[in-house]
């Protein structure tokens, strides 16, 4: 598992937030939506986003070095990874909020980038296409490892066999505490329902283990 510490040669300047907030600016919260290629991430982000989902490319070099074979390495110094981004304003919330949605691919070579996205996130949605269930194992394992609350949403594709959520839970070896739900990623009400389920789950996890961050530092120095 790659370490979240900056790699050698990384930026010299660590960013500190400026003390100049724009007056009345909403608090930003973020949710990560992970799923394999074609699982419906862009569709889900687009269903609730106020902006057309933006696709962004990042070049990956080091992260893919031990994954790709050396053959043809000169032609493949960079791998591109596509992200989806969407956002929505919630001005009617008790506190003005803005929600950022980050759609990210599910392969383990992107784990470094997930650390980035998951820092301070509300939680994650693992979007599952039951025809490619195996692509969900990596994100599920990752979110479990870092202790980020997540829900599993089974995207109901036309023509795909409809599995019961409990069958998906068993296949992904998920504990009973992780919500597994079905959704139509095209339907804003469904996607909003998935987000609500995630927020409810995050609230429950927060109250179940309020001292979780501290628990990682309780080991005594030998």
């Amino acid at each position: 598992m790659p370490s979240p510490t900056p790699r050698p040669g990384d930026p010299a300047v660590v960013l500190r937030p400026s003390s100049r907030p724009r007056a009345g600016a909403p608090t930003v919260l973020k949710v990560v939506i992970a799923g394999g290629f074609g699982a419906g991430k862009t569709t889900a982000v687009g269903a609730v986003s106020e902006i057309t989902p933006l696709s962004t490319e990042e070049y990956l070099t080091e992260a893919s070095a031990d994954v790709d074979s050396l053959a043809g390495v000169e032609a493949k110094q960079t791998t591109t990874v596509a992200f989806d981004f969407g956002r929505l304003n919630l001005p009617d919330a008790p506190v003005p909020l803005e929600l950022f949605l980050f759609g990210t691919p599910g392969q383990d070579r992107f784990v470094d980038l997930w650390y980035d996205l998951c820092r301070g996130a509300v939680g994650a949605v693992v979007l599952v296409d039951t025809r490619r269930l195996e692509s969900s194992f990596t994100p599920v394992g990752f979110f479990e490892d870092i202790g980020l609350p997540f829900v599993v949403a089974v995207n109901q594709f036309d023509g795909a066999h409809r599995y019961h959520p409990e069958e998906v839970r068993t296949a992904l070896e998920l504990p009973a505490s992780v919500p597994v739900i079905t959704c139509d990623a095209r339907d804003p009400n469904h996607v909003a329902g998935v987000l609500l389920t995630l927020v409810g789950h995050a609230l429950k996890s927060a109250s179940a283990s309020p001292a979780r961050p501290a628990s990682t530092t309780t080991f005594q120095d030998a």
């Binding site: 010299a12 400026s18 724009r22 930003v28 950022f100 301070g120 505490s177 909003a192 329902g193 961050p213």
Partner: protein, 134 residues
């Protein structure tokens, strides 16, 4: 990929890095999700056209690194390098209100989560939160 196609890809790659004057790493530790707001400073002379675009976008609305890269149609690393220049010039700032939890392990507070839940319900009254298992 044909030889022609890959040559075309290489030339795009080179053009992209002339924007950053050959630099391949940003000076600031920026996340994909780092939020940027327009600041009081002015960018230095000789900045890429894209810097003006970034500033115009951030004056309209706070934007994340990912959103800026998506709008400019440029790779994230390139956009991060340009953003670093603008941060150095104070033309961009990172608003303190963004991400209530900026600590690596910290999560948004229960109050914020409850507010998010209420906000989502108001926006989509027909959305159903599924009953919690376990």
């Amino acid at each position: 990929m044909t030889a022609h196609g890959s040559a075309a890809e290489d030339s795009t790659f080179v053009r992209t890095y002339t924007l950053t004057r050959g630099r391949t790493r940003p000076r600031h530790l920026l996340g994909l999700d780092t939020v940027l707001d327009a600041g009081p400073g002015r960018p230095g002379p000789g900045q890429a056209e894209e810097c003006a675009e970034i500033l115009a976008l951030c004056r309209e609305h706070r934007r994340s690194v990912t959103e800026l890269a998506g709008r400019l149609g440029r790779p994230v690393t390139v956009v991060k390098i340009l953003i670093s220049d603008l941060l150095d010039a104070d033309a961009l700032v990172v608003p303190v209100t963004a991400y209530a939890a900026s600590d690596a392990h910290a999560r948004p507070s229960a109050q914020l989560l409850a507010a998010l839940s209420a906000g989502l319900k108001r926006k989509w009254p027909d959305a159903i939160a599924y009953p919690q298992a376990g």
